[in-house]
C-alpha cells in the first residue's frame, strides 16, 4: 500500500514545490491553519506563490511568515485586515490581491475540487467584484459567474487523521479545510493525532482519505488572535 505518512513537515513537502505555483491553504484567521506546513513551505524557499486563503495570517504567524520573506506574489482572500505587512506590500504594489466574497471563495474551492469549472451566484452583483464577469438571468434574477479553483498544492490542518488520509476536524477549526483538501493536485495534511487503522469512526470522517496524499503528525501552537472571556 502507498504509505501516506511522512515523518516531518519538510519531508512532506519534498518535491512538491516550484516557483509560481498556486497553493491553497485552510484556516480562518489563525484557527485551523496548517501552521507547521506553512513554516515548511517557507523553508523550501519557493517564490512567486499565488496563495488562496481566506486570510493572510498575522505579521509573525501563518501566511504572514511567507509575506515577511516575500515569497507570495498574489493573495486570493476575503479579508486581510489583521496583517500590517500585507497592507504595506499591497500598497507598494509588490503584492497582488484578489478579493473574493467569503462564500464565493469557499464555493470556488469546493467547485474546483468537485470538477465544476464555474457556477453562478447572486453574491456581488452590482459591485466591483462583478466587473468583467459573465452575468446571466435565472428565474428573473441576475447572477454572475465565478470560476472553480484548482491548486497545485493544498495544505490543510485536521485534529485527527490516519495513515489512509482520513481526516476529522475539531470545532470551528474545520472552516475552509474540507474544501481546500479537495482542490489540490497534491494535498498534504497536518494532524494533531495520527491514529491507528480503523480507529476513526467511518461515520465521523469529514474528509475521506482519497483527497489526502501525504499526512504528518505535528505539535500545534494554536495561537489565539482575539482572546475574549466573560470574566
Amino acid at each position: 500500500m502507498v504509505d501516506k505518512v511522512y515523518s516531518s513537515p519538510d519531508e512532506a513537502l519534498a518535491g512538491l514545490t516550484q516557483d509560481g505555483m498556486t497553493v491553497a491553504v485552510g484556516g480562518f484567521g489563525l484557527c485551523g491553519i496548517p501552521e507547521r506546513l506553512i513554516i515548511a513551505l517557507r523553508d523550501t524557499g519557493v517564490g512567486s506563490i499565488t496563495a488562496v486563503s481566506n486570510n493572510a495570517g498575522v505579521d509573525d504567524w501563518g501566511l504572514g511568515l511567507l509575506l515577511e520573506t516575500r515569497q507570495i506574489r498574489k493573495m486570493v482572500s476575503s479579508y486581510v485586515g489583521e496583517n500590517d505587512l500585507f497592507k504595506q506590500q499591497f500598497m507598494s504594489g509588490e503584492l497582488e490581491l484578489e478579493f473574493n466574497p467569503q462564500g464565493t471563495l469557499a464555493e470556488r474551492l469546493r467547485a474546483g475540487g468537485a470538477g465544476i469549472p464555474a457556477f453562478f451566484t447572486k453574491t456581488g452583483v452590482g459591485t466591483v467584484i462583478a466587473e468583467n464577469k459573465e452575468h446571466r438571468e435565472f428565474d428573473g434574477e441576475t447572477f454572475l459567474m465565478e470560476r472553480g479553483i484548482r491548486a497545485d498544492l493544498a495544505l490543510v490542518k485536521a485534529w485527527k487523521g490516519d495513515a489512509f488520509g482520513n481526516l476529522v476536524y475539531r470545532k470551528t477549526a474545520r472552516n475552509f479545510n474540507p474544501m481546500v483538501a479537495t482542490c489540490g493536485e497534491t494535498t498534504v495534511a497536518e494532524v494533531e493525532h495520527l491514529v491507528g487503522p480503523g480507529e476513526l469512526d467511518p461515520d465521523e470522517i469529514h474528509t475521506p482519505g482519497i483527497f489526502v496524499d501525504r499526512i504528518i503528525q505535528t505539535e500545534s501552537e494554536k495561537r489565539i488572535e482575539n482572546r475574549t472571556t466573560s470574566g
Binding site: F28, G103, G124, V128, I224
Partner: protein, 220 residues
C-alpha cells in the same frame, strides 16, 4: 433625544422571532444578542462554521478551536453545530438564514448598501458581507443616522463601492426606524426617537423618503 447603541440594538432585537436563525455583524450589531427575550430561542450563526453561538467563555473554557467570525473565542449553546465554510455559506446564500443585522457606511434610497471599502484607504476586504446581503431573507442595518462629520448616510445613491444592490429591508438609527416599501422602492419612516421630528429626519437625510401618517415613538 437620540438613541444610544444599547437602545438601537434593543429596538433591533424586537425584530427577532422565536426559532429565527440570525447572523449578527461585527460591531454594534453584536449587542443585539444582549436583548434576546428570555422566552425566545434564537440561533446565532457565525459564518466561520458555527450555528448556536453562545457567550464568551470563562478563563478555563477558552478553546483556540472555537472562535466566531470576529476571531474572538466563544462557546456554543446546547444544540450547537459545526460545519465547513462551504456549508456555512450554503446556509447564507441558500436563503436559510432568517435575518442578518449589520452596520453600514451608506445606504441608498433604493436599499443599496456600502459597508466594506473606502477608496484611498487601506482595504481589508468584504469578508462575508456581500454573501450576507445577497442571500439572507431579511437584512437590517443598525447605524448612526449621520457620519462623524454630521453628513447624511442615507442618501440618493451610494458614493462608496457597493456591498449589494437593493437588499436592505429596514434601517434602525439613533433617530428613527425606516422600512423599505417594496412597491415604491423607498424607505418609509415608521418610528421616531423620543423628541425627534419629521423635519429633523428630512434635514439629516438626502434620500427621498416616505413617512407614515403617524410615526410611532420608538420603544425599545
Amino acid at each position: 433625544m437620540a438613541l444610544d447603541r444599547n437602545q438601537i440594538t434593543a429596538r433591533a432585537a424586537r425584530e427577532l422571532r422565536d426559532g429565527y436563525y440570525v447572523n449578527l455583524g461585527i460591531g454594534m450589531p453584536t449587542l443585539v444578542a444582549n436583548h434576546v427575550p428570555e422566552d425566545m430561542t434564537v440561533w446565532l450563526q457565525s459564518e466561520n462554521g458555527l450555528l448556536g453561538m453562545g457567550a464568551f467563555p470563562g478563563e478555563e473554557e477558552v478553546d483556540a478551536d472555537l472562535i466566531n467570525a470576529g476571531k474572538q473565542t466563544v462557546t456554543g449553546v446546547t444544540g450547537h453545530s459545526f460545519f465547513s465554510s462551504a456549508d456555512s455559506f450554503g446556509m447564507i446564500r441558500g436563503g436559510h438564514i432568517d435575518l442578518a443585522i449589520l452596520g453600514a457606511m451608506e445606504v441608498s434610497q433604493q436599499g443599496d448598501i456600502a459597508n466594506w471599502m473606502i477608496p484611498g484607504k487601506l482595504v481589508k476586504g468584504m469578508g462575508g458581507a456581500m454573501d450576507l446581503v445577497a442571500g439572507v431573507r431579511k437584512v437590517i442595518v443598525t447605524m448612526e443616522h449621520c457620519n462623524r462629520k454630521g453628513e447624511p448616510k442615507i442618501i440618493p445613491e451610494c458614493t462608496l463601492p457597493l456591498t449589494g444592490l437593493a437588499c436592505i429591508d429596514m434601517i434602525i438609527t439613533d433617530l428613527c426606524v425606516m422600512e423599505m416599501d417594496p412597491e415604491r422602492r423607498r424607505f418609509r419612516v415608521t418610528e421616531l426617537a423620543p423628541g425627534v421630528t419629521r423635519e429633523e429626519i428630512e434635514q439629516k437625510t438626502t434620500a427621498e423618503l416616505l413617512f407614515a401618517d403617524q410615526p410611532a415613538e420608538i420603544t425599545a
